[in-house]
Symmetry: C2
């Protein structure tokens, strides 16, 4: 018996021909917008934060806990699942949703970012990229066509094109070359996408690259729009550049992207950065920070970060966040969480992850509500004032 | 909001003067019995298996999962909690139940076994035992009186006397000395118990020692009964002696113990051993094996052990145990569990622990039902035949 259903009024509509996106309300003072993505596997209310389930599991949590905290869509990593357990195996076992028992929508990245951040060797050719596995050193080649094939095998609902990521800083010629590869690969991904024939409606996203160069970002955005995708991701940011550049590049893209397609800022980020990006018209986010920090004992709260291992919490009977409705905050004290971390107990990263993800998801839901009610700026100011006040 | 309640029709009876135990049905062909322990914090249906929550958490699981799988009582370790976070801290924070958010009954051991199995240095004196912490090498002294004080501070429902454990084999003079210390300490524990005045009804258990010597086991059992306890534990077994000796010593004690008190065989064990001990009149069990093995990828099933990491399960879409009703078996395949273990994901030990504990708890519930229906021998034979058949 698979008892669980994703939150957010899932819609099982086998007649859906393609992913839909509707903007429900636009903020009058910023470019923030509240919308709905409709997929065959459920509705996603935007702006949305997608918990990261790199290896086919959001670390420490069960799918029913994800439903409980309000997750509507999760992200999985093509690079990791391709290497282990292998996309062919996942396909043979019925696809990723069935494999991990998550019936809601899944977005998969293309592996582009991981090839550049995790693998030992990488050689970028026009045809694709050669890399060595971070697991066993074996050599692999990913082409745009293979990136699509892998994601089709996983049966992802939202598929990313293969892109070429570069670090920061990078000189203009190299950044331009990466944009040209990214654009060529995006075109090939779209062709591969259209010639494959999956059941139901899935969506293909293009990815904007171009480092911090306005001309390259502009060109990349426009040419992707010319190719035409179901959604658009803004990639290659949050890699060390100044925050001002992150948001300038984001605004440049959102200003050129079609209103009627969802926009996804990859790998962002802190609550403040998410709020800023929403104000620039971004709809979708992912980041490992809430989950990774939680496993190390740093939790996000309505009053900023709380390092629960600190000795000051040894006798603190208050919950992690007095404003939070999660299972952790309803049942356990800071003192108990600290004890679990001190004792190296596995329940510690579990309870911490549950809380921090719930904090992010509730923040997104509150933000969305504020947009619908025409109160986004007021909500943001209030949220950030409390957040900056620091732990009680 | 603390939403959860332990399973098994908890009874909150603040007028209960002492723990109650009723034998509901005795088997006609063996000494097996089905009974009920009534504590202020809930009813416990026996025979019962108590999940081990050494450091104030049953490793990897949340209290609500323990309720879901049918745990009625859990065990916590005095030695560990005394050293970290410290019993005074737990007392100050409202006791162990509130600290760990488990409202049902808790049994605590006295620390005797851990002092002998975990600590570096130990000097047994007539007054008590000196040992070094396995955490930081600090020196500690535990007396019978302190063992009671610690368990009172934790607010345990079922408290164990301090006993002296010995290894196997051990010569008769040393075994006799350990019995004499155990008996003297048991008397001092009872005095300390009676002079302390906790709220409500808690229970004190004596512990039978005597290695594999019949005369010592007999003497220890009889003298403990003369002192008089609310329940009796059989300790110092499953430490390397032949199985035949384990059960001879167990039968010797259960034959001498009063019918109207619960009997607890410490640290046992495998399904087959539990069934055998139940047939000898034992009511209560604990063992780290289901949880520890699960964390390493070895799971208990109705058809014996299953090593889920094995490559043979890489494409196996069946649940761990097709006869099991746990969350893990209802939602995940062997192939997925194997992937989680291969990938080092924390969800792996969680899902495995949930299953193996549910297997033990369901086995106990089925066994109890068979006793109530006069079918214990038939049930045992059938259970063991299937168990020995091996995984499908």
């Amino acid at each position: 018996m698979r008892w669980h259903r994703p939150a957010g009024n899932p819609r099982n509509n086998s007649t859906l021909n393609s992913m839909e996106f509707h903007v429900e309300k636009k903020d009058s003072r910023t470019d923030a917008r509240a919308g709905v993505v409709v997929t065959e596997r459920g509705r996603i209310e935007t702006p949305v934060f997608m918990p990261v389930g790199t290896q086919g599991t959001v670390k420490t949590l069960s799918p029913r806990e994800l439903v409980e905290i309000g997750a509507q869509v999760i992200l999985a990593n093509t690079y990791h699942l391709y290497l282990r357990p292998g996309h062919e195996l996942v396909r043979e076992l019925g696809g990723l949703h069935s494999f991990m028992s998550w019936p809601g929508p899944i977005l998969t990245d293309s592996g582009g970012f991981q090839v550049f951040s995790l693998s030992d060797l990488r050689v970028v050719r026009k045809e694709g990229v050669v890399f060595r596995s971070h697991l066993d050193g074996s050599e692999h080649f990913i082409s745009p066509e293979l990136a699509i094939e892998i994601q089709r095998a996983l049966d992802s609902d939202m598929v990313m094109v293969l892109d070429q990521c570069v670090g920061y800083p990078v000189d203009h010629p190299l950044a331009r070359q990466s944009v040209e590869n990214t654009l060529e690969w995006a075109g090939r991904c779209k062709s591969a996408w259209e010639s494959s024939d999956p059941p139901g409606a899935r969506a293909l996203f293009g990815i904007v690259q171009g480092s911090t160069y306005e001309d390259l970002r502009k060109r990349c955005t426009q040419e992707l729009v010319d190719i035409g995708f179901d959604g658009y991701a803004i990639g290659g940011l949050s890699v060390g550049e100044p925050k001002s550049a992150t948001f300038e590049m984001t605004a440049l893209s959102t200003g050129l992207l079609p209103e009627g397609r969802p926009r996804y800022l990859m790998g962002v980020g802190f609550p403040r950065d998410i709020i800023r990006a929403v104000s620039l018209g971004v709809d979708m986010f992912d980041c490992v920070m809430p989950t990774r920090n939680a496993r190390n004992g740093t939790l996000f709260t309505s009053r900023g970060k709380l390092v629960v291992k600190n000795v000051e919490f040894a006798k603190d009977l208050r919950p992690i966040d007095e404003d939070c409705d999660c299972y952790t905050c309803r049942n356990f004290s800071r003192a108990y969480l600290r004890h679990l971390f001190q004792a190296g107990e596995l329940l510690a990263p579990r309870l911490a992850t549950l809380h921090s993800l719930r904090f992010f998801l509730r923040m997104m839901a509150d933000m969305r509500r504020s947009i619908l009610h025409g109160q986004f700026s007021e909500w943001s100011a209030e949220f950030l004032a409390r957040y900056d006040a620091g732990p009680q």
